[in-house]
């Protein structure tokens, strides 16, 4: 199935006919989405529409919830991530995730970023050190923390903690970065820093971001998918979605008539 003739160019994310259930609740209905390399896709929609659920399907975080079931297929760089021979922990190294609330470990700043490397079995100290510094720099945090790498991560502000979490995700060089409302718990200044960061990271990563903030979606993304009640209503270039959506429901949502 990876040699589908229509896709000469390899897609980074390719979800086909995805249905997802929490026990009896039909949370996602026949979702099809294709994402090319180095694009940012924003998932928007009212609360409970399934956009976070979809995001968590891409690194199989939903496996942790009892009684869930998925049909359809999700390919990441052509590999079916729900195939029986896939190791979940290997997959999650390729698909990094940043959560809604900053969730650093109760460890030092350095150890937070090194964590992913260490659980990967990397012991080479110089390599870890280089990679940690590089990741913190990529997350635009270096100037703020370079003198206190051994201090507890909890000593940082919320915005800094979130960028630390991004650095932590970057350290293991994922192919895809999933962001679940990464700026919703942050103040406007921290939010704009995160947005600038997403713009920078696009050069190296494919990013999928869930957001409730319309402006944020329009600012950072190349493509936008609008979810409503478990269905993907519309998926198109961001500029098209925000200026001339095909569906009335999308228009109502982005103009703030409901949601």
């Amino acid at each position: 199935m990876t040699s589908d003739i229509r896709h000469k160019k390899m897609l980074t994310i390719d979800a086909k006919n995805v249905d997802f259930y929490y026990s009896e609740f039909h949370a996602l209905k026949n979702i099809n989405i294709e994402v090319e390399k180095n694009k940012v896709v924003a998932l928007i929609g009212p609360s409970g529409c399934g956009k976070s659920t979809f995001l968590r399907l891409l690194n199989r975080m939903n496996d942790l919830i009892d009684g869930t079931r998925m049909t359809g297929s999700v390919l990441i760089e052509g590999k079916d991530i729900y195939a029986p021979n896939i190791h979940v922990d290997e997959l999650r190294k390729e698909v990094g995730m940043v959560f809604q609330k900053p969730n650093p470990f109760p460890k030092s700043i350095f150890e937070n970023v090194a964590y992913g490397l260490r659980v990967n079995g990397i012991k080479d100290k110089t390599f870890i050190e280089e990679r940690v510094i590089e990741s913190i720099k990529s997350a635009a945090l270096w100037n703020e923390v370079k003198d206190k790498l051994n201090k507890s991560a909890f000593a940082l502000s919320g915005g800094q903690q979130q960028r630390l979490c991004i650095a932590r995700a970057l350290a293991i060089s994922p192919k895809v970065l999933l962001m679940d409302e990464p700026a919703s718990a942050l103040d406007p200044i921290s939010t704009s820093k995160i947005e600038e960061l997403i713009y920078e990271l696009k050069k190296d990563y494919t990013i999928m971001i869930v957001t409730h903030n319309m402006q944020q979606a329009s600012r950072v993304s190349d493509k936008t998918a609008y979810f409503y009640l478990g269905e993907m209503i519309e998926y198109d270039d961001t500029i098209k979605i925000f200026t001339n959506p095909t569906e009335l429901s999308t228009q109502n949502y982005i103009t703030g008539r409901f949601g």
Partner: protein, 396 residues
């Protein structure tokens, strides 16, 4: 009217609070008051005296020295700071070796005079007699008002409250027995308890957990005497056979029974601590490609460290204070233990076993209260350290 009612309730709450605090305080004061009499109690049995020759430079003996003299372990006065002179131990019944029954009188009316004469004649004598046989003009040194020293209690290596003439109230064998048994218990129960807690908190399915958790909590509700019974019938014979011991009632048997008893506490507290690890923390670890095991030992256990420590300390607390089960399986020999395979005796078991036979207000009675104080202090240290550990969690 409503205001009045509120005041009334407020008053009732205040009174019940104060009464509880005062009661607890009174118990503690009572405990220490009774125990404080210990160091005013005489080193020798009530109603008796020890007498030496008046030329003997030794005027004082400690409780332990007296015991050793009468046991024949000390045979010369120079061992207790006197002259080079063999010790001659004389009890009331021994007087017949020196005097005929006729000389002592038909109703023993001549004993006071003869005892005085004997003491004056023999330079190495140590005479142990009831008070009533000591003449007013007794010719010798009387050891009557000597009281127990703190060192005899805190540093005493023997607990032998019925020893004659000098009862031994040495804390060490009991304290070491208690600590030994508790340490063994915690070494057995901690790894096992934490393993079960990890399983319940992180690995088991909801159904297994919903079954196991109440079962484990039920364990905490079983009366300790039932555990003791189980230990006596199952563990004691098992140890005796396995280690080829003369008796199976050993410190190890106590440790095993206590370990089983401490398990519910350790499991419950440690499991709660692990379940309190934020989901976000675990997800962050898993999302970085850590396996479940890596997440458990790199994130869950370090995060729940203070809770796990509290679990351990509470488990120790349970083990140290436990009375009945230990009393039944440890063999109760009040000797300083060297291995876990010897009978030992713990502080609570001693109090429970002996308080009934100690006469109120006597030295033995006071010594038991002093043991109670020691136990109280130990458990207080434990509670304070639990408070300290769990308060540290929030300042992190």
């Amino acid at each position: 009217m409503k205001r009045f009612f509120e005041k009334l309730v407020e008053g009732a709450l205040l009174i019940s609070g104060s009464i509880t605090s005062i009661t607890i305080l009174l118990i503690v004061i009572f405990l220490f008051k009774e125990a404080s009499g210990l160091f005013n109690s005489p080193v020798i049995e009530d109603g008796y005296v020890l007498a030496f020759n008046k030329d003997n430079p030794v005027k004082k003996l400690s409780s332990y020295q007296i015991k050793q003299i009468f046991d024949g372990a000390i045979t010369n006065w120079d061992e207790v700071g006197g002259k080079e002179e063999p010790i001659e131990v004389v009890r009331l019944s021994d007087l017949t070796k020196y005097y005929t029954e006729a000389e002592l009188g038909a109703n023993f009316e001549n004993i006071p005079a003869k005892a005085s004469e004997l003491t004056a004649k023999h330079p190495g004598i140590i005479l142990f007699l009831p008070n009533s046989y000591i003449a007013k003009n007794f010719d010798g040194t009387l050891l009557k008002h000597e009281t127990l020293r703190p060192g005899d209690f805190f540093g005493g290596k023997e607990w032998y409250p019925t020893a004659s003439p000098s009862p031994q109230y040495g804390l060490l064998p009991l304290l070491l027995g208690t600590l030994w048994v508790s340490l063994g218990a915690i070494l057995l129960s901690l790894p096992f308890g934490i393993a079960v807690a990890v399983y319940l908190a992180e690995i088991s399915t909801m159904r297994v957990r919903n079954f196991l958790k109440p079962v484990i909590e039920l364990l905490a509700g079983i009366p300790s005497v039932v555990y003791g019974f189980f230990g006596l019938v199952v563990i004691v014979p098992f140890l005796q056979k396995t280690f080829q011991l003369p008796v199976g009632e050993t410190g190890l048997a106590g440790s095993i029974v206590l370990a089983i008893m401490a398990l519910p506490t350790i499991i419950t507290v440690a499991e709660d601590a692990m379940r309190n690890v934020p989901r976000a923390m675990k997800e962050a670890s898993l999302a970085l490609g850590a396996t479940q095991w890596q997440t458990i030992y790199r994130v869950v256990i370090p995060y729940a460290k203070s809770g796990i420590t509290s679990a351990a300390v509470l488990g120790i607390g349970r083990a140290i204070g436990e009375t009945m089960a230990v009393l039944m399986v440890t063999g109760n020999a009040a000797v300083i233990p060297h291995t876990l395979l010897e009978p030992v005796r713990t502080i609570p078991a001693t109090i429970a076993a002996e308080l009934g036979e100690a006469s109120a207000g006597g030295g033995h009675y006071q010594a038991l209260f002093a043991l109670g104080c020691i136990l109280f202090i130990i458990t207080m240290i434990i509670s304070i350290s639990v408070e300290f550990i769990s308060s540290k969690k929030y300042s992190k």
